[in-house]
């Protein structure tokens, strides 16, 4: 059936981490002149498979065959010698060096007496021109360019080694539409030159636009290899999620109807013309118990700034804040926490989670802090609590001793959420809780949020995805240019309505 020999043939790859079986007998074939998409939810094993192929992780079992030759890579350099190049999500170049050096580092042409800098420049320029990046000054320092350009420089580096296999791990996550098209043009021309390309992305549209073939992983296992044009989107999604798509549609608008304002009750949180000079202004919010308030607006419109004001991370210098009927000034996050306010920030990697501790330890930390340090929580209670939250949030692997850093992004987010839930807050502020996590985990988190609200918790929900905000919120506060411009009750508000407000001139 396959008369063409694959450039890369991975067979039965297994990798185990302490407590986690990251990959279990996975196959992957890459063919010359094809773009191959590697699909799967967070935690499916995509990153691990890539790291096995690039020599970062050693494989426990299985074979790696490149161009007919079996390999056991002991490091990235060996994979590169086998003409496999990788461009990672975070640009792995040296920001302190020039573009030309970054392209040729480790392979600089020499002449008698040292590096031939003129030749370095000539070759760098040739590669850049090949990628339509001729306008870049090869001598300029990398850190002076945007992430998009840095990413393209990383690709230029792999083109320069004359790679047979190019791996692109989430290359588009920080690019705008135009930059994505520029990248795709580069990918297509490389493909036409016979390079085998492995493309990993969360964006389904992009995968369907660029890929010829795809391999789907789920929970560290191979689901199958498919031709892109023969696999409809819906069946791809169900293959990735391992269940039919009910979960997605289940959570439609009628399910989360706008809970009416209980004007008879005292609002939990009332902000009147709240603001801070240079940060955000004109924030008018009335949030009742069990309501979800969505903050909508473009990047930089003041969404996070609003959250920080309400959490006391920044001090308001305008307007009035009332909590349960009493005027309050939040001087610090600590006083906000005392009022039962919790804030889950958008940087889950840097704030909140300790990668080298287990799921249980991370959860208990929050509880212990609220109990006071002297009263130790007994071990059985710790276990019981952890198991409860692992089950409630469907944290995978369902192992309370697994280390946080071995968990995928979506599961880390769930642990972080669980940490706040343990403290039983009255108001939970979630800043981008679903960013960068896959559709399955996303749905779970959205459902969880509406369940929490139904149980009486008030939630402020921030997301760049307007659709998500509309689906979940009872009220939508629209921000524009660091001012709150509208407060819409969510009774049939459409995305167009919100966009019109954002697009319209400021009131």
């Amino acid at each position: 059936m396959n008369e063409i020999v694959p450039v890369v043939d991975l067979r039965g790859i297994s990798i185990e981490f302490p407590g986690v079986k990251a990959l279990d007998g996975v196959d992957l074939r890459l063919f010359q002149g094809e773009v191959h998409a590697l699909m799967g939810e967070n935690g499916a094993g995509k990153s691990t498979l890539i790291k096995a192929l690039t020599g970062v992780y050693a494989i426990d079992s299985g074979t790696i065959t490149v161009l007919g030759e079996q390999h056991r890579f002991a490091g990235p350099a060996e994979a590169q010698d086998a003409r496999i190049s990788t461009v990672y999500q975070e640009v792995n170049l040296c920001p302190n060096l020039s573009i030309e050096e970054n392209i040729l580092l480790g392979r600089e042409p020499h002449r008698r007496g040292g590096i031939h800098w003129k030749e370095v420049r000539r070759r760098a320029r040739a590669v850049l021109e090949q990628l339509n990046l001729g306008h870049l000054d090869p001598g300029s320092v990398l850190s002076s360019h945007s992430i998009a350009i840095q990413q393209l420089v990383a690709i230029a580096r792999s083109v320069q080694v004359d790679a047979k296999v190019l791996i692109l791990d989430e290359p588009t996550s920080s690019l705008d539409t135009e930059e994505v098209q520029q990248l795709f043009a580069v990918i297509r021309s490389l493909r036409d030159n016979g390079v085998a390309i492995l493309f990993v992305s969360h964006f389904l549209e992009q995968v369907y636009e660029i890929s010829d073939r795809m391999t789907v992983l789920r929970n560290g296992r191979l689901v199958g290899e498919f031709m892109t044009r023969e696999l409809p989107r819906m069946s791809l999604i169900s293959k990735m999620m391992g269940k039919e798509l009910d979960a997605l549609t289940e959570l439609d608008r009628s399910d989360v109807r706008a809970r009416p304002d209980r004007t008879d009750a005292v609002p939990l949180l009332l902000a009147e013309k709240l603001g801070r000079k240079g940060s955000v202004g004109n924030v008018d919010i009335a949030l009742y118990e069990g309501q979800i308030l969505g903050l909508a607006g473009l990047l930089g419109s003041g969404r996070t700034e609003t959250a920080r004001l309400l959490f006391g991370a920044d001090r308001a210098d305008q307007g009035q804040l009332t909590i349960r009927g009493t005027a309050q000034t939040l001087r610090s996050p600590r006083s906000a926490i005392d009022h039962g306010i919790a804030f889950s920030s958008e940087n889950r990697k840097e704030e909140g989670l300790i990668g080298d501790l287990s799921v249980r330890d991370n959860l208990v930390l929050a509880m212990q802090a609220s109990q006071g340090w002297l009263r130790r929580i007994p071990a059985p209670q710790q276990d019981q609590l952890t198991e409860k939250f692992i089950a409630a949030l469907d944290i995978r692997p369902a192992n309370k001793d697994a280390l946080i850093r071995n968990l995928s992004g979506g599961n880390q987010q769930k642990v972080l959420l669980a940490r706040w839930l343990i403290t039983n807050p009255k108001l939970l502020i979630l800043d981008e809780p679903t960013r960068g996590i896959d559709i399955g985990a996303k749905t779970q988190i959205q459902k969880l949020i509406s369940t929490l609200a139904a149980d009486g918790m008030s939630i402020i929900f921030i997301s760049a995805e307007l659709e998500e905000v509309l689906r979940l919120s009872d009220h939508i506060a629209v921000l524009k240019d660091r001012r709150m411009v509208a407060d819409l009750p969510n009774d049939g508000v459409t995305m167009e309505d919100v966009m019109t407000i954002i697009a319209g001139s400021a009131a």
Partner: protein, 337 residues
């Protein structure tokens, strides 16, 4: 010629950082500028300051510090630190003095001292790399170890009477107009030139910069990161041994307490010379300028006459603080990008 190429400004140039383009040289240029300003101030304030020999004496009196600063520049460029250099200088002097006293051939002595220093540095580098221990701790252990070994050799000061060493101590290379330098200056400047060549013209040197810019990136780019990290400590150890020999030429003795705290002077010179302690940015010529600044501060104090020599330390402390704050300003602009 790189300046001449006028390309249209890239559209995606979002933020301007002070370390981009030619501004990369700003910290080093500031150091050179400061040195020139201090020299000019000295010329105005004190008669006889403005002479070639005053400048040359800065080199003559600081040959060992120049060489130490060169080795330290390699280490700091990778984001590391080497606290052992002062002790290794003392150990080198003690080994040299003891062996010369025992009647060894001076050339063999120098060869052995250099070998010892390089080995000592390589071993520290191996410990840092293989066991992934902080360079601060490993080289601190090296500091104590080398200093302790000095006392094993001799508690008392040993005078060097070897004819070759005394000849080197007294030799003067005339430069015309009654100006002169010592052979040590020639050696130190050769070391600077060699280091400049290695850092800018060899793959090893560029890897040193790459590690400072991002170690994991350098690793993923397939560069020889482990080997390079071990080697920079070897280079620093070798430079310490060379500095020890130069110090012996200068002082004609070996003494266990010699060069105490010299590692801190070397670090100060490198930082004042514009190298970022976090690694990745800096030039060996800046370190040379840093040593000259430290030297000219000392010259100032001695010209003043009434001030105690501890004022040197105070001024150096203030300068160091000023330069570190300056660096913070530069690097903050960088991290924003």
């Amino acid at each position: 010629m790189s300046v001449v190429t006028r390309t249209p400004a890239p559209l995606n140039r979002t933020r301007i950082s002070l370390l981009e383009g030619k501004a990369r040289y700003a910290p080093t240029l500031a150091t050179v500028g400061l040195f020139l300003a201090m020299f000019a101030a000295g010329a105005v304030m004190y008669p006889g300051f403005l002479s070639g020999q005053v400048f040359l004496n800065l080199l003559v009196d600081n040959t060992f510090l120049i060489v130490l600063a060169v080795g330290m520049t390699f280490v700091i460029l990778t984001g590391g630190i080497d606290l052992s250099v002062g002790s290794v200088v003392a150990l080198s002097m003690m080994i040299a003095a003891a062996l010369l006293q025992a009647g060894w051939n001076p050339v063999a002595v120098i060869a052995l001292v250099l070998l010892t220093g390089a080995t000592f540095g390589l071993l520290m580098g191996l410990v840092i790399q293989v066991f992934e221990i902080q360079p601060f701790i490993v080289t601190l252990a090296g500091l104590f170890l080398a200093r302790g070994l000095c006392y094993v050799i001799s508690v008392d000061s040993i005078t060097v009477t070897d004819p070759f060493f005394t000849a080197m101590a007294q030799a003067r290379i005339p430069l015309g107009g009654r100006m002169f330098i010592s052979p040590g200056v020639v050696i130190a400047l050769l070391v600077v030139a060699l280091a400049f060549y290695v850092l800018h013209q060899t793959r090893f040197g560029r890897t040193v910069y790459a590690i400072g810019g991002g170690e994991s990136s350098a690793l993923l780019m397939g560069l020889a990161v482990p080997r390079t990290k071990v080697l920079v400590y070897g280079i620093s150890g070798l430079c310490s041994a060379v500095a020890g020999v130069l110090f012996s030429f200068y002082s004609l003795s070996g003494y266990s307490l010699a060069a105490t705290g010299l590692e801190l002077d070397a670090i100060a010179a490198v930082v004042v010379g514009g190298t970022l302690l976090t690694g990745g940015y800096g030039y060996v010529l800046g370190s040379l300028a840093g040593v000259l600044i430290l030297g000219i501060v000392q010259t100032f104090i001695s010209y003043e006459g009434t001030l105690s020599s501890w004022w040197t330390r105070i001024v150096i402390g203030a300068l160091l603080l000023a330069f570190i704050l300056l660096q913070k300003l530069f690097s903050r602009k960088v991290t924003v990008t």
